[in-house]
Symmetry: D2
DNA sequence: TTTT
DNA sequence: TTTT
């Protein structure tokens, strides 16, 4: 079982961190990813992909990104469903993001420049 | 701009090819992908991911797969919207699939064993 | 900057954990990945991809896999170089693996069935 | 069997198309991908990943990119071996690229803005 | 043999 | 509800 998503695109809005009831940071954002080809009518299209970012990555995204920022996003597709006010079942598909790369930043000011262990 | 999805999971139903108005084959399927970890309540969860397969891959999937078949799927996330009967805008997120790997087949009977050019 | 690799293939040997000087577990393995198409001569080819697995994933791989096991592998391509005995520079490209999925195991006995937090 | 690589990084040199004996265009390039974290010594590292691009993508890469261009690369890891002048077997691991995205170009002048069919 |  |  494999479930892996890689996106590079731009934030449609300024991001904002929220917290779960038990205090975990998260952030909802939509990534605009332009398709590489025009459609049959010659129109350049864009996918607007709904993402939830978790934990430290959520905090860093809020700190380093704004509307229009170019980001790389690594995550998984998740599905869930709920009932709306009329009792109708709504199915939601979204990307749960574990890693965000800040792609218009230079390397030196990236928020994720933290120590890791070396390969021996 | 990058938009790439890799899934390995099982078909929830027997697949069935359909054709667009202008004759292009396609196939809708849902892939069940078990999550690798249990949730906080100790429950093993599954994502049910809605996919559309195109062209020759659609025909091969119908030919070689059935409910329960293990497949690898390469594609992109696409979003679209339409208005339901009450005029409410519905937003849909799905995976548009360009390649399917048949993973419970042995190599010798794979439907995709066609010639390609060699690396010089 | 994005660097992401997804492989599904089989171990060419029984895996064996080793430890770095400072005690970190790691494991070297080669994954055989059959190409989906035959080459111009009609021959079915296979790529033998050298991987290094780290930490807990290394220990689990040794515990749950053997020669021939089907695994999914998530990681990054890494390059390094060293000088051989004759002082010639050797360039090495390998996959540094952070996650291994055990794909011939049923879900119930997967080694990675550990608790995670739920999505709110 | 799955073999998928996604990279975003910069060309280390001006690219140049070559042709196989039977006339197929190809192009060798090295992509510099900066690692997101510093190593234990506090040094920011980079992987230099050797790639071969094929066909139309090779021609477009030569046309639209130069040393330092930011590209997204989709492909597979391939391995091969040959004997050097002293009869020693040399093992090579490289990325065979099927798609290149030109990431410092604006959408309007991308070389890959060609028609595709629409989703019905 | 290495890019910003 | 959409970005360059």
């Amino acid at each position: 079982m494999i479930n892996q998503v890689t996106l590079v695109g731009r934030l449609t809005k300024d991001p904002e961190v929220k917290y779960t009831a038990d205090g975990r940071p998260f952030l909802n954002m939509t990534i605009a990813v332009n398709r590489p080809y025009r459609n049959q009518q010659g129109v350049a299209e864009t996918d607007f992909i709904y993402c939830t970012v978790w934990n430290k990555s959520a905090e860093n995204t809020a700190k380093y990104c704004q509307k229009g920022s170019l980001v790389g996003v690594l995550g998984t597709i998740q599905t869930r469903n709920y009932e709306d006010k009329e009792g109708k079942k709504i199915y939601v598909t979204e990307v749960s993001v574990h890693t965000v790369r800040f792609m218009d930043k230079k390397r030196s000011d990236s928020s994720e420049l933290l120590p890791i262990l070396t390969i021996p």
